[in-house]
């Protein structure tokens, strides 16, 4: 009998305790962030959309190798010394590789940050930008290369020409050398 009334009493009082706690929160400051209007500032190392700095990239393919989900595709071609268009890196050193193709499929990206740590030149970086959703999945295929396909073909052709010329030169020079040696 005593237990019965004790139960009722504890049920009653614990409910009142709970109500006191919930009511004390009514006037507390709300923690909601009205998202599109106000935003949290992300820490500078936050891993969101990848950004490639083309002036640093030398198409070394480390990021593509490091990526566990294979979302990065890199293709490059050597810069031909004959190329009328020569480029320099951010630090003033001449560019050795043209990046003919650099694509990141953000639909696949898992934001692990491994590409960032693999990059020897700090070209690829996660940024704090996170609002880039698209209705069309194909739009998430980001192309970072600055060269148009035609230009890329042109660079490849130039390199091939240069190499052919090199070879020729090499042949002739070796022939010349042999000639010299004969003399």
């Amino acid at each position: 009998m005593f237990e019965y009334f004790k139960n009722i009493w504890s049920g009653f009082t614990t409910a009142l305790h709970g109500m006191a706690i919930t009511s004390s929160h009514i006037f507390a400051k709300s923690v909601t962030i009205q998202y599109p209007d106000e935003k949290l500032t992300l820490p500078s190392n936050a891993r969101n959309r990848l950004q490639l700095e083309m002036s640093r990239c030398n198409a070394c393919n480390s990021c593509a190798v490091a990526c566990p989900v294979n979302c990065i595709t890199v293709e490059g071609t050597r810069v031909s010394p004959d190329d009328p268009q020569q480029d320099v890196h951010w630090d003033g050193k001449p560019r050795k590789m043209w990046v003919t193709r650099y694509e990141i499929d953000f639909a696949k990206c898992c934001f692990c940050g491994l590409c960032q740590s693999a990059c020897p030149t700090d070209a690829i970086k996660h940024t704090v930008e996170y609002e880039y959703s698209e209705y069309d999945r194909n739009k998430l295929l980001y192309k970072f290369q600055t060269l148009s396909p035609a230009e890329a073909e042109e660079k490849k052709r130039l390199l091939a020409e240069f190499r052919a010329k090199e070879k020729e030169k090499e042949c002739s020079s070796t022939a010349g050398k042999a000639h010299e040696a004969k003399e």
Partner: protein, 383 residues
């Protein structure tokens, strides 16, 4: 788990009192995409058959195609509630193979982030358990606090949920200035909220009525089913790898192993399993405080990270105390940079297997609570 019984016409006609209910995979209380085939007699559960595999991602097979560094992001996605704790045993296993001595500071950072993540995990566990019982408000109080923990881990690692923060031999990044103050604030807030939740939810008469004496898991059954973590400790078995097989620097801290004592109900019921988590949060707070005090100020966290991880031939098994229990990784190496075989002992999977054993004879509403008290994450169950 027993063989899968299919409901056939003959069966249902013979026993028309019983009803087969399909709980999940789209049910609000299965904590993911778990499917339970439940047979009820009125409201009494007579049989439970869990069906798994809705979130199966071939984690173990996939690992064989990845190098050791690339596996870590996938490990995050197993038990995504406590990703920091997941990475640890894997990284430790590799360090053991490679015979790397991790710098002192790294060990302390690991302890702190793991304990922070343990608190976050238990907050979700207790919160969702309350929500299974119908109390919604504690859920949001805990989520409010969890936000602070997540922010710290985000500032450390750069991500909010799937951190990829551990590296073999070190960490991906050093701590930021102000890290200590942030942790101490979190500890303070966790204690405050826990005191409040104790009053609002855990000692609420209705909640006690709901969860005490329900889903009793005796220590023998728990050990037979290889349960671990709070599920085992709720049954009164003080088993904790942090103390029993101290790894890292855990032997330097003073902390207790909370077990279900049966203050309310009996040892091993849902209430006791739940209260263990609340007490563990307090213990984690203590560990964090001690670790912050002991942590060396200087030290390069990246000093010991090898350029390329190439394991010698052999095998290794390493386990640590995940918030949900023992999490172990078994790695067979063939001498290349990719594992020959990778096996994870998923805690949730093992703990879930005890469900049919302890939920028979209770009411249907109790089944939901029992499931909630076991605290599973389907990412780890299915892998």
């Amino acid at each position: 788990m027993g063989e899968i019984k299919r409901m056939d016409l003959e069966y249902s006609q013979l026993d028309s009192d019983r009803m087969r209910i399909n709980v999940g995979p789209q049910h609000p209380s299965t904590h993911g995409v778990l499917r339970l085939e439940v047979e009820v007699d009125g409201e009494i559960v007579t049989e439970v058959v869990p069906h798994l595999g809705y979130l199966h991602r071939s984690f173990e097979k996939h690992c064989e195609k990845l190098n050791y560094q690339q596996i870590i992001p996938f490990i995050d996605r197993m038990d995504y509630i406590s990703a920091m704790n997941n990475e640890w045993p894997y990284v430790m296993a590799l360090e053991k193979m490679l015979d790397i001595k991790v710098p002192e500071k790294v060990e302390y950072i690991r302890v702190i982030v793991a304990e922070l993540n343990r608190i976050a995990n238990h907050q979700i566990a207790v919160a969702t358990f309350g929500m299974d019982a119908g109390a919604f408000t504690p859920f949001l109080y805990y989520f409010r606090d969890r936000e602070a923990i997540i922010s710290i881990l985000e500032r450390l690692s750069g991500a909010r949920l799937l951190y990829n923060y551990f590296r073999v031999g070190g960490m991906a990044a050093d701590i930021y200035p102000g890290f200590k103050d942030d942790c101490l604030n979190v500890v303070k807030q966790v204690r405050k909220t826990n005191a409040e939740i104790m009053k609002l939810l855990i000692h609420n008469s209705i909640f006690i009525k709901r969860s005490a004496n329900v889903g009793i898991l005796t220590p023998e059954v728990a050990i037979n089913y290889a349960c671990s973590g709070p599920v085992l400790r709720g049954s009164g078995v003080a088993h904790d790898l942090r103390r029993d097989e101290p790894y890292s620097v855990y032997d330097r801290f003073d902390f207790e192993i909370p077990v279900g004592k049966g203050d309310v109900g009996v040892v091993g019921d849902c209430w006791n399993r739940n209260i263990v988590r609340v007490h563990e949060m307090e213990q984690s707070c203590r560990i964090i405080e001690q670790a912050l005090a002991q942590m060396p100020e200087t030290g390069d966290v990246k000093a010991m990270i090898p350029k390329r991880i190439k394991l010698p031939k052999g095998e290794v098994y390493m386990r640590t105390e995940n918030p949900k229990g023992d999490l172990g990784f078994y790695i067979v190496s063939n001498g290349t940079d990719k594992p020959e075989r990778m096996k994870a002992r998923g805690t949730s999977f093992v703990n879930l297997s005890v469900i049919p054993e302890i939920s028979k004879g209770y009411m249907f509403a109790d089944l939901i609570l029992i499931l909630g008290s076991i605290d599973i994450v389907l990412g780890e169950v299915d892998r």
